[in-house]
Amino acid sequence: MTDSATLDDEALLVQQIRSGDRNALGEVYDRHAPVALAVALRIVADRGQAEDLVHDAFVTAWQKIDRFDPARGSLRSWIVAIVRNRAIDRLRANRPSMEIGEADDRSLLQTGPNPTWDDALARLGGAQLRAAVAELPTEQRDAVELAYFGGHTYREIATLTGVPLGTATSRLRLALARLREELRQSDAAPASARAGDDR
């Protein structure tokens, strides 16, 4: 997503999918499958399983496009959330799916644009986003990765890393605050500083 024209284009694709246009879903797949597969592969660490998850997520998108609400986030965010939640479910079969819950969370919290994150996603490339994550202190980055890609709760993270619960929650909280600040500064950087965009 780079500009409003692209967002309008995405809205059109969503409308086309809702009208039963399978080619529109193919276009969405072409755009977002590589990120979705990256997330799935990072979580389950198995190429075959990861591709199955991506396949199933796009089938779900086809079947449940009426549940997609652009006010809650982009189409890519929605698809990635489906992939991520299913991958976590597969990783930890005894953990209930959070697909619906996350959507509800967003509806509770969404009160308007979130400039820092939205701008970062719109303007920065994957290399810059990786660099911003890499700038986090090791213990904060580890906590975030255990949570988002490992599907661990903060209680589990506390146990795994040998710290009190309060420390685990603080690391997650501080990591996101710091990441947000990193991205804010990146947003302010000139375009010439955003070399190596690989998205």
């Binding site: 590589p34 990120v35 997330v39 009160t111 975030v144 255990l146 988002y148 909280r173």
Partner: protein
């Protein structure tokens, strides 16, 4: 973590909540707090999209060439979802406007009972009124079956009202109350229609002696847009009369 969360504890958990790093119970407690709280909880709100950034920070991975073909082949077999903004799908006859939904608290136990009874009895044309033991047994079985996730859709019309309940992999069941009796030379025939309106016959029945009837449907509801019941002289491959009951399978389930 207590279910009673304070503003401070909510904020402390902002990162964990945003990244889905909480137990289901704890996340539910946070949602319950947010649903009634008049505080802005700005940190939580600002933290929430972080997952999108983490996903986008990964090096994209090109899928195998055949994955796209597999996906397109899969969705080729799945009708699109009807949506209010999409071109409406027209059934081969006018649809009555009865598709309101009663309380899921009532609908789901009734629907699940229907499935349980239909499977347990394993026969057509079961009258539950004539055998209250069967009905009671079905209702008792509901206690164990509720939560299995079956999907129920309202069915309504001039002949009666009830629910059609999906049990993927097994079939489905129609549970209908106060069904009108038919002349001896007529039968009820059940239909599933896809989004294009193409009907598939999925069963017949004649016994309407009970206040509540449970009727197995020969196919599960996946991929179909409409359920209908017509009155026919014999089992036929396409309906010859206007439906006496219709259910919209594309709307929300009970």
């Amino acid at each position: 973590m207590s279910d009673e969360m304070t503003h401070e504890s909510i904020d402390e958990l902002a990162g964990a909540f945003a990244l889905g790093a909480m137990s289901a119970d704890e996340a539910a407690a946070v949602r319950a707090h947010l649903a009634t709280c008049d505080q802005p909880h700005a940190e939580l709100r600002e933290a929430f999209p972080a997952g999108d950034v983490l996903a986008a920070s990964l090096e994209p991975v090109t899928p195998s060439p055949d994955l796209r073909d597999r996906l397109m082949g899969s969705i080729e077999r799945i009708p699109p979802v009807a949506h209010p903004s999409a071109e409406p799908v027209k059934p081969p006859w006018p649809r009555p406007g009865w598709f309101d939904w009663i309380s899921p608290r009532v609908a789901r136990p009734l629907a699940v009972a229907a499935v349980v009874a239909a499977i347990a009895v394993g026969a057509w044309n079961v009258s539950l009124r004539s055998d209250l033991d069967h009905r009671d047994a079905a209702l008792r079985a509901v206690a164990a079956a509720i939560g299995n996730g079956q999907t129920a859709f309202r069915v309504d019309g001039t002949a009666g009202r009830g629910y059609v309940v999906d049990t993927p992999g097994v079939g489905a069941a129609l549970v209908v109350a106060d069904l009108k009796a038919l002349p001896a030379d007529k039968l009820y025939e059940l239909w599933l229609l896809d989004a294009a309106g193409t009907p598939v016959a999925v069963g017949t029945f004649t016994d309407t002696s009970g206040a509540v009837a449970v009727l197995p449907v020969e196919k599960d509801l996946s991929g179909y847009a409409t359920f209908a019941v017509t009155v026919e002289a014999k089992r036929v491959d396409a309906p010859t009369t206007t439906p006496v009951m219709v259910g919209d399978l594309t709307g929300k389930s009970s």
